[in-house]
């Protein structure tokens, strides 16, 4: 059904167009309808976002509201709140630097040169450590800033990174436990994994944020932020564990037998033989899971964190910019889009590359 036809030698431009879009009356109609829809949307969008939009702060909210198009002044006026939340104004460069550290870390871990257990752990350890030191301060002459002041994009990234950092090893543990030969261990773990998977993430975040303090001794409660991260990591790991397990099932049984016959212990077999191959099998699904969980970090807004969505709400919700909600949401959507789209494109690229490699 794909329309890839090898072109006859050097057709005229017009003929080519005709063949591609107006081959039959039905095709022509479809093309025209699509074209009309596209033209309408693109024109409306451009007109709103560019031609009739206001970009400067100088006129103030009133002039902006009067304009027919988008009011990007709200972004110019409030971008710092959206990106950094309530982080102290003079210290916001640290927050920006911390975000850069996380982005660099993500880019590095997309490079095959870093795909060994030790290197990836090193990259993520350093990246997260750098983020934490930069954000929290208290050392190296950086003034202390507590977690309660973190916010915006920086907080979103922190929750995502720590979720993965805790969730990934946990996922591997869960997958191994579920694959265990010992029936009670695999059954109990299966129950935990399926139980968590059947619940909505919000209910887990809510339980960890609000209910858990009742059920834990004082000394174990910790900060609400870290409890929520733990809940989010648990949810991530339940899904990732099934992906890892799928990857392990793709490793032929002969591999483990060969390792056993060479006298390797359980941990040597898992660490050196099974997991490296399983992770390779599971890579596309894993990246997809990262994409999903990045989008899902936005849910912490419900349990009362000042991440990028909440800071966006605050950016337009107070006073004179009340009308400019579309622009603020468009800005946040664009930020999410850049992160999520590039990550999912990368995943699709890997999948294609691996499919070619298998042939």
């Amino acid at each position: 059904m794909e329309m890839v036809v090898v072109a006859p030698p050097a057709p005229g431009r017009l003929e080519d167009l005709k063949r591609r879009f107006f081959a039959t009356p039905l095709q022509a109609l479809l093309s025209l309808i699509s074209l009309a829809i596209m033209a309408f949307i693109v024109w409306k969008l451009l007109n709103w976002a560019v031609f009739s939009a206001v970009f400067t702060v100088s006129g103030g909210p009133e002039a902006c509201q009067a304009a027919a198009g988008a009011c990007w002044s709200v972004i110019a006026a409030r971008w710092r709140i959206i990106l950094f939340g309530l982080y102290p104004f003079e210290e916001q460069w640290r927050s920006a630097l911390a975000c850069v550290a996380v982005v660099v870390m993500t880019v590095l871990s997309c490079m095959p040169a870093f795909w060994t257990g030790r290197r990836i752990a090193l990259v993520w350890g350093t990246g997260t450590g750098l983020y934490y030191v930069l954000m929290k301060g208290g050392v190296l002459g950086l003034p202390y800033v507590g977690e309660e002041a973190w916010g915006g994009l920086a907080l979103t990234l922190f929750i995502f990174v720590t979720t993965c950092l805790i969730g990934f090893p946990l996922a591997i543990c869960l997958a191994l436990l579920r694959r265990s030969d010992l029936p009670w261990i695999s059954r109990t773990t299966g129950l935990i994994i399926d139980g968590v998977r059947s619940l909505p993430l919000i209910s887990i975040l809510f339980t960890f944020a609000v209910v858990l303090p009742f059920a834990l001794p004082q000394w174990l409660q910790g900060d609400k932020l870290y409890r929520v991260i733990l809940g989010s990591a648990l949810f991530f790991s339940a899904y990732q564990a099934e992906i890892v397990r799928g990857g392990m099932q793709g490793v032929p049984a002969g591999q483990e037998e060969a390792a056993m016959a060479l006298g390797m212990s359980y941990w040597q077999r898992i660490g050196r033989i099974v997991l490296p191959q399983a992770m390779r099998n599971a890579l596309p699904a894993t990246i997809n899971q990262f994409v999903i969980s990045f989008k899902e970090t936005s849910l912490v807004v419900i349990v009362g964190f000042f991440e990028i969505l909440a800071s966006g709400n605050a950016a337009y919700g107070t006073g004179e910019w009340r009308f400019a909600y579309v622009e603020v949401y468009a800005f946040i959507a664009f930020i999410y889009f850049v992160f999520v789209f590039s990550l999912s494109r990368y995943g699709a690229y890997l999948e294609r590359r691996m499919a070619v490699g298998e042939r």
């Binding site: 002969g254 037998e257 060969a258 060479l262 006298g263 390797m264 050196r272 490296p276």
Partner: protein, 251 residues
């Protein structure tokens, strides 16, 4: 695990029973393999021959009887199992090389992490055994880049790098194209001539005739016949053996 055991058989199997669910896969097997002895086990598929040698290094757990390897009994003691696996090498039908490691790494990993040999020593050993199986030039390639025969020779080298006292071969040539069978058998013959204790499950009757000290015929989970090759091929009186031989040698 005492590896300098004075005498006694390399493998002694007494009254071995093995079930898969209600299926009786091995029925009261008795077998003793001396040090330096070469045994070939043959039989129709499903006769339990693979299961038997997989019991020797506990890839399969036996349900009854005793297996003693190099003087150590194979029981629930985890230490015994690990010790025996270190001294018993195995070659599989489907090679089972580790696809994410180079040929050299395949040969080095077990000596390094199981025997705790330093890297340099492991590499020297690995290269020596790759030389011996006649593919030293492939050391830096990945298994996927080699032919079946080459892969199986790497698998033999990988097992030898652990410097085992006993080698188990589980149909090492069954998955190979005909023209590659010879190169693998050549390596096995060399190994046999150096006095390695070998238990081979194979249908290569030429190989059995040339190197085996004893040929064992199994059917239905039992040892049906056990004889030196000459007697086995020429004067077997057992009906099932003769039928099997006529099928294997007949064409």
């Amino acid at each position: 695990m005492n590896s300098t055991l004075p005498s006694g058989p390399a493998v002694r199997i007494e009254g071995l029973d093995k079930y898969y669910g209600s299926f009786h896969a091995l029925r009261t097997i008795n077998l003793s393999v001396e040090r330096g002895e070469r045994i070939v086990i043959c039989g129709p598929s499903g006769s339990g021959k693979s299961t038997l040698i997989r019991c020797v290094n506990r890839l399969e757990q036996h349900d009854g009887g005793r297996i003693t390897v190099l003087g150590t009994e194979l029981n629930d003691d985890v230490g015994n199992i690990d010790g025996i696996r270190r001294e018993v090498g195995m070659v599989f039908q489907h090679f089972n090389l580790f696809p994410h490691m180079t040929v050299l790494e395949n040969c080095m990993i077990a000596p390094m992490i199981v025997r705790k040999r330093p890297r340099a020593e492991a590499e020297t050993t690995a290269r020596r055994f790759l030389e011996k199986v006649r593919i030293p030039e492939q050391a830096m390639k990945f298994p996927g880049q080699l032919s079946g025969g080459q892969q199986q020779r790497v698998a033999i080298a990988r097992a030898l790098c652990m410097q085992p006292q006993i080698m188990l071969f589980d149909e090492p040539t069954s998955a190979l194209d005909p023209e590659m069978i010879a190169e693998v058998l050549d390596v096995m013959v060399t190994l046999a001539s150096e006095g390695m204790t070998m238990i081979c499950v194979t249908h290569e009757m030429g190989f059995a005739r040339r190197v085996a000290d004893r040929v064992i015929f199994m059917d239905g989970g039992e040892i049906v016949e056990e004889a030196p090759p000459e007697a086995f091929f020429t004067s077997s009186r057992n009906e099932r053996t003769r039928q099997f031989l006529s099928q294997v040698l007949g064409h």
